[in-house]
Symmetry: C2
Subunit: 382 residues, 2 copies
């Protein structure tokens, strides 16, 4: 018998109520004349409990509003039913708008399984690692979602060493033992490149994102695949790197356009960088979608509001979060990482930032260099 039940309960009007006190497993056991061990086994699907008893127990538990305390379970099982998410907040992180959707996806899917999500933030790689370690040490999470993977990711090394389950949002150099979810960014880049070539563009530039991220090798590969499928040669002079925000995207565009054989089309790996092309074109007196075409990747909201609206490949961050949470929970429950790899495609959003080239590369060069010095200019036709 639950020795505390008398102290904790009060009889009011013939009905037993528990003031300010949770209903514990012993309460359920007492009510049924069983022991708490039996109740526990019944609730957790042990096979040595008769169906009759099992049904009785789960019914009573439901009726009494019994909810096991996850940290009381954790002390024995080692599981807290929580997912960990360590976000690295960089100063120049252009991806913040995604967080809300992404977090909503992760927490939503976790909640549906009655799991919770422990979120922490860090402001450097080292900080991320020590935060991960702290969360593991205190067992605040049973596993982790690792967003924004590097080609060479120290978080993966750490969690592998600690034997803590994790799932990647993105791929990484060494995938052994990794569960993951990723968007086929390479397919999007190939498709964009190919589409632009189909429209008649012959010189198509590629502006990549941060070189440390794994996505950049994939998207670059996609760009090259698109070129070769279109029968175009790769010109290294048409490739820029490390543009993840508007300013960097603008600088890259200006540098590329100031060449003697400028591109008539751009493929950007990151939407926020692609927004910089608009600024560059404003300065250089070019019309986006006519003089210069662009397609990009991510699907940020700003792209829909800019003029002309940006053609892009949109990523569904919420469903990414949902899938990641689901995969991670299964990983924690013991499914092999190799069986937990999912891919999705970005969705093509055709807007108005691309079209058939109004000029050839040569004509564009004349147009540009006949009016401008080839340096940045703050004036120009709007």
């Amino acid at each position: 018998m639950n020795t505390n039940s008398l102290a904790k309960k009060t009889v009011q009007g013939g009905k037993t109520v528990s003031p300010r006190t949770r209903v514990t497993i012993s309460d359920v056991a007492d009510k049924l004349g069983l022991t708490k061990g039996t109740v526990s086994r019944a609730l957790n699907g042990y096979t040595d409990i008769s169906d009759v008893t099992r049904r009785k127990v789960s019914k009573a538990a439901e009726a009494m509003g019994y909810r096991p305390l996850s940290h009381a379970q954790a002390i024995r099982t080692g599981r807290v039913r929580a997912l960990g998410l360590v976000l690295q907040i960089n100063e120049h992180d252009g991806h913040r708008p995604f967080f809300a959707d992404f977090i909503a996806g992760v927490t939503g899917a976790a909640g549906r399984e009655n799991w919770t999500v422990t979120v922490a933030t860090a402001n450097s790689d080292a900080d991320t690692l020590s935060t991960l370690e702290r969360l593991v040490e205190e067992r605040k999470a049973d596993g982790f979602v690792l967003p924004r993977t590097y080609i060479n990711d120290p978080r993966v090394d750490l969690l592998r060493k600690l034997e803590v389950p994790f799932v990647l949002y993105g791929r990484t150099g060494d995938l052994s033992g990794c569960a993951l979810y990723d968007i086929r960014g390479e397919a999007a880049m190939a498709s964009a490149t190919h589409k632009l070539a189909d429209m008649g563009h012959r010189r198509i530039a590629f502006v990549n994102g941060g070189p440390q991220y794994n996505y950049s090798v994939l998207r670059y590969q996609g760009y090259r695949d698109g070129l070769s499928r279109a029968g175009l040669d790769l010109d290294p002079e048409l490739v820029a790197v490390d543009a993840v925000n508007e300013a960097q995207g603008e600088a890259a565009a200006i540098a590329l356009l100031n060449q003697t054989n400028p591109p008539t089309a751009f493929v950007y790996a990151v939407d926020h960088a692609a927004l910089g092309l608009y600024a560059a074109c404003a300065k250089l007196g070019l019309r986006v979608g006519q003089d210069v075409s662009v397609m990009s990747y991510d699907g940020v909201p700003e792209g829909a509001h800019i003029t002309p609206p940006l053609t892009t490949y949109s990523v569904d961050s919420r469903s990414a979060g949902e899938r990641l949470a689901d995969l991670l929970i299964r990983r924690i429950r013991g499914v092999a990482p190799e069986d937990l790899r999912e891919f999705a495609d970005a969705r093509f959003i055709e807007r108005a930032s691309h079209g058939v080239p109004a000029m050839s590369s040569n004509q564009l060069a004349v147009h540009l260099h006949g009016r401008f010095s080839g340096q940045n200019s703050t004036g120009g036709k709007q």
Copy 2:
């Protein structure tokens, strides 16, 4: 003696290592020849432990890398050292960009005290309440941060009833027993109104946000204070409500401008709505910052990129998150809610969306109605 220490430890090369196993409080106790009860008391500042022992214990614990398992502590203390944050993700929530900063603030401050943050999302008021209840039931958090307060907030009622600590981000109708942090939006609105009046504007409109939110009564009050300080009368025809995104802000602006005595200046309670004024002016052939002035509130990044850049009162979401986490932790530790109320001011960011009126209200009316019918127009001079 820790009966498990032999089973768990292995001696390798004369050095005791613990393979795959945490160091527990019993390990520390064994090493020092004390009992785990003593170690626990020493570590938790009980007065019946001698200073010598206390120092010995904390030193050994540190050296052995002992970290108490928060859920093991929780089973006795009822505290999990976690803050709860339930975010309501509305479809038309224009405030998403803040989330990253806000969450970074909360988690950062919590982490500094070795607390963690469990985040959950909900998509309706009812969902928010049931999520809160679930988190309380399973004791996934010791207290909650409640962002975006309503005038009449059911979350407050719930947590008050459950006697769970919480802290508001914003004020609410009945503040009894509430700890809170808030930005003085009313002061910002008053200041904006007064500044515009000083510049010579006589008809200043106010476009408020969602009427269910507590901030809207405060900002409206601030607008009225600003008017009266400037010696201007309140004209109800110059007040619009419920504009929290660009489309709603645009509709409000067009309706206000189509009146016979249109405003020459606008005070918006929400930046995202103020962006709609730009769209409205583009349609009506007005120049923002000259024909029409505007000041707003929030400090969203888009405001800096739009032309002309938006003058606004910027809120520091990160430090808000930090302060809230700090207040909540103190609240959970027992500080009275009345002693946990903090206010901060929004920072004035003077940009180019305001100026002396180019025309009086009458002239503006002639300008508008001489060219347009007074209905929405999609054409007009860009």
